[in-house]
Amino acid sequence: MDILSLFITVPVITILALVFTRGLKQARIVSMIGSLVQFGMAINLVFAYFKERAVNNDIMVFTKDVVWFKEFNIHYTIGVDGISVTLLLLTAIVVLAGVFISWKMKDLPKEFFVSLIVLSIGVYGFFISLDLFTMFVFFEIAVIPMYLLIGIWGSGPKEYSAMKLTLMLMGASAILLVAILGIYFNSNADGGALTFNILEIAKVNIPFEVQKLFFPLTFIGFAVIGALFPFHTWSPDGHASAPTAVSMLHAGVLMKLGGYGVFRVAMYLLPEGAQHWSWFFIILATIGTIYGAFSAIKQTDLKYINAYSSVSHLGMVLFALLMLNKTAWNGAILQSLSHGFMTALFFALIGMIYERTHTRDVTKLGGLLKVIPFISVIYVIAGLASLGLPGFSGFVAEMNIFVGAFQHEDLFYRVATIVSVSAIVVTAVYILRVVGIMLMGPVKNEGFLTLERVTWYEKLGILLLLIPIVGMGVAPLWLSDMILDSLQPFIQGVL
């Protein structure tokens, strides 16, 4: 078995093993072992990638190609470049942290972990696929377990949120289906055979009229899951109702499918369409960035604050991708990673606070620094990373994005960039506001004085996410070299 297909088979084996478990203890041990193996594989993949890259100069490495449906020329084609390797690592870390955070999942534990791992199969498969059909299959596999995860184990208006999220995301993927068929039936524009293979299609000059028609469909199809304004409305409700580990996985990993898909499919395959339409989507992304940040200010529910902050941060990812230059692209990928770790960490911390205090309302909390210092300190660190303090991952990413964006000289780009940059200031406002109200000040509730200490599995989960945030901030170069290297084909193809 090749090194990439293992990312599908190991979770499948984990699920099969989970079917035979009984009770919470067995289920969580099996899931932990499965995710640990995945984590090890992801680390191993990074080293293997460096080794392979030194001798192999192809766009994709570790490729494998198996014919699936012969008549449609559908293949199971897999391969990775630097971008997908980093995202696979992100996924493995967040899934493992998610398992630790769900250590005390009492209600239907087996089903919970099965759904969680099905979701991770979808994500892993999506990041390694090089065939549009296979990619689409994995995309939908990643979305549908969310319905059960939020609906069964969620809180608040969970049925409503679960249905809204599923329908919006599946609706987007339905639009994407039309776009994929459109790309497929024009993949023979240069006289070759019809194909779903991304690398093959990238070589074809698809007619401009077709690109103009299908670029927006492809872009929207992917960007809905990346919380593009005005299609972001599923995200705050969904995140607020989801159980902790699911919020982590969803905001941390699943929303990254959007940016990745936009980059790898919409922009890479339809470059002229991207040039033609970029102004329109830049406006939307800019609005999303600033709108998300301002909305976060007004919220009092911790999860809503973080969800809107995700809308804002991911708006920056789309914004950076649409800037169509190397530095901004690099920033976009770094921002995806940085946001993945940060937001997963936030949701993990919010889950811990909620479990102890039984409220997520900021106004009802206060003085937590005195009673649960570990969680509070990490919350401050995550907050500082989120508002882009140098030394953490957020700074590196946002620096790259805006340096790249500012390279455009005309007025439109300048205005968009300035508006987007101002979101960083607003971010500081809502982060520091929460820190001030919730962590500092007097303890508002007598009951808070006897809060439970942090347990070992919670600490493990937190550290898993915190290390990469600091690591990326302190030593970003090896990561950004890896990404820059893989941007080469995009630079040739799109610019």
Partner: protein, 475 residues
């Protein structure tokens, strides 16, 4: 005439023999052992299904009235599989409810007669054989729909079905007579050469189409569907929605792609319109249903609308995707109906609300139902996704992007109501859930086969390639 040619009618002859054998058995088996006829019928039909998979020669009989080839043969096997699963799923119901009224054997006789009619219908080489097959396949089902004589709704369903199908057959026959009037022949092969796009032929084609559209329950010929499904016994409803619909789709496809091919510029517009209407009406009406049978009725109307996307392509790709989709649809829909059947037999409950909290008491049944609904909704990795994706590919290959777009909007709508059932089973908790019960062996086997089908048919790609190869014959 060489008698070995009759081997080409193997399906029909064996099924006829089984039917006659059951009549004899009915006479000779004593009253207190009548229930063993269920085992006998299932055994015989199982053997018939297996024998059906043996290869068959391609030939025309009776001067072209009856024809068979690889694809027709394959489709008969699909129908056989469907009926076999259906028999397994209805065995317990027959033993519990029908044999006590002393009319169990007749159920099999009527069912097999109807299936025989479908064999003849899809094998027909002229309009006479087609019409005989159509009638033979419809009339016994009307009797079956009224089978629960103690239930007034069942009788109502029977009357509704027979009246409306008689009307539809009449309309269809009128259309056929016009086609005959313009071409002077009822043989498909002759008509292909003569048919021209005159007003009368077009009118004939539309009337003929209306008759079959009734069987497939396409909008605006769908009004009987929900009432009949609700009133009829569940086995009969599932027969109507799976087997009967599948056979009608198949023969409609053959006729449109061969005999009526010269009129394609007319019928593609017709199909376009009907497809859009069927998808929207089926889906929108399904949203508000409370009764599982009515729910599945509208869902199956909507599914028929999706099938038309393959029809409109009019190519080998279209043929292949339709047959593939029907195959998958047989398994998915029978799984859903099977669960409804099991629950209804055990508790008498048929409403979506009754399913609340089902997962916590009957996890296996809920999982089967969820797989079936996901397959109907078209969610990977279960088979329904591949079926739908390929249908859409067929439509897109002829440039019908707008129609595909309308279809995917409908897929999203349909996802909503399929999720409503999932929500009831998995998300809701109930004070008074359906208690845990164990299914008997036949029902379990019936559900197991459907689940295997749902999981395997999509991922196992050589199957599609095989169907595609067979489909070349009509294009």
């Amino acid at each position: 005439m060489d008698f070995s040619n009759f081997l080409a009618m193997r399906h029909e002859i064996i099924l006829l023999a089984i039917t006659l054998l059951l009549i004899v058995a009915e006479v000779f088996i004593p009253q207190n052992k009548k229930q063993s006829i269920v085992h006998l019928a299932i055994l015989l039909f199982g053997l018939h299904t297996i024998v059906g998979f043996l290869p068959i020669m391609e030939t025309n009989l009776f001067g072209g009235m009856f024809r068979t080839n690889g694809l027709i043969h394959f489709f008969k096997n699909i129908l056989n599989l469907g009926v076999f699963i259906l028999l397994l799923q209805s065995a317990d119901w027959l033993r519990a409810k029908i044999f006590s009224q002393n009319k169990g054997t007749e159920f099999f006789i009527l069912l097999f007669s109807s299936l025989l009619g479908m064999y003849f219908m899809i094998s027909s080489g002229d309009f006479l054989m087609f019409y005989l097959g159509l009638e033979l396949s419809t009339l016994p089902v009307a009797a079956l729909a009224a089978y629960e004589t103690t239930n007034r709704r069942s009788s109502e369903a029977g009357i509704k079905l027979i009246l409306s199908s008689a009307l539809a057959s009449g309309v269809s026959l009128f259309g056929i007579s016009m086609l005959y009037a313009t071409s002077g022949s009822i043989y498909f092969e002759n008509i292909i050469q003569i048919i021209a796009s005159t007003d009368l032929t077009i009118l004939g084609m539309i009337l003929f189409f209306a008759g079959l559209a009734f069987k497939i329950s396409l909008v605006p010929f769908h009004f009987w569907t929900a009432d009949v499904y609700e009133g009829a016994p569940i086995s009969v409803a599932s027969y109507l929605s799976v087997i009967s619909k599948g056979a009608a789709v198949f023969i409609l496809m053959i006729l449109l792609f061969t005999v009526l091919k010269p009129l394609m510029h007319v019928w593609e517009n017709l199909i376009y319109l009907v497809a859009v209407l069927t998808m929207f009406i089926g889906n929108l009406f399904a949203l508000r249903q409370q009764n599982m049978k009515r729910f599945l009725a509208f869902s199956s109307i909507a599914q028929a609308g999706f099938i038309l996307l393959g029809l409109i392509a009019g190519t080998q790709l279209g043929t292949a995707t339709i047959v593939y989709f029907v195959l998958i649809y047989v398994f998915s829909n029978l799984a859903a109906f099977g669960v409804v059947q099991a629950i209804s037999l055990e508790t008498g409950k048929e409403d979506i609300n009754d399913y609340e909290g089902l997962y916590r008491t009957n996890p296996n049944l809920s999982l089967v139902m969820m797989l079936a609904l996901f397959s109907l909704a078209g969610i990977p990795p279960v088979a329904g996704f591949f079926g739908k994706f390929f249908l859409f590919t067929a439509a897109a290959s002829e440039g019908y992007y707008l129609l595909v777009f309308i279809a995917v909007v409908n897929v999203t709508i349909s996802l909503y109501y399929y999720l409503i059932v999932v929500r009831a089973m998995f998300l809701r908790k109930s004070d008074n859930p359906i208690p845990f019960f164990k299914n008997r062996i036949y029902m379990r086997l019936g559900l197991l086969i459907t689940v295997i089908g749902i999981l395997v048919l999509g991922l196992y790609s050589p199957l599609y390639d095989y169907i595609y190869e067979l489909s070349g014959i009509f294009n």
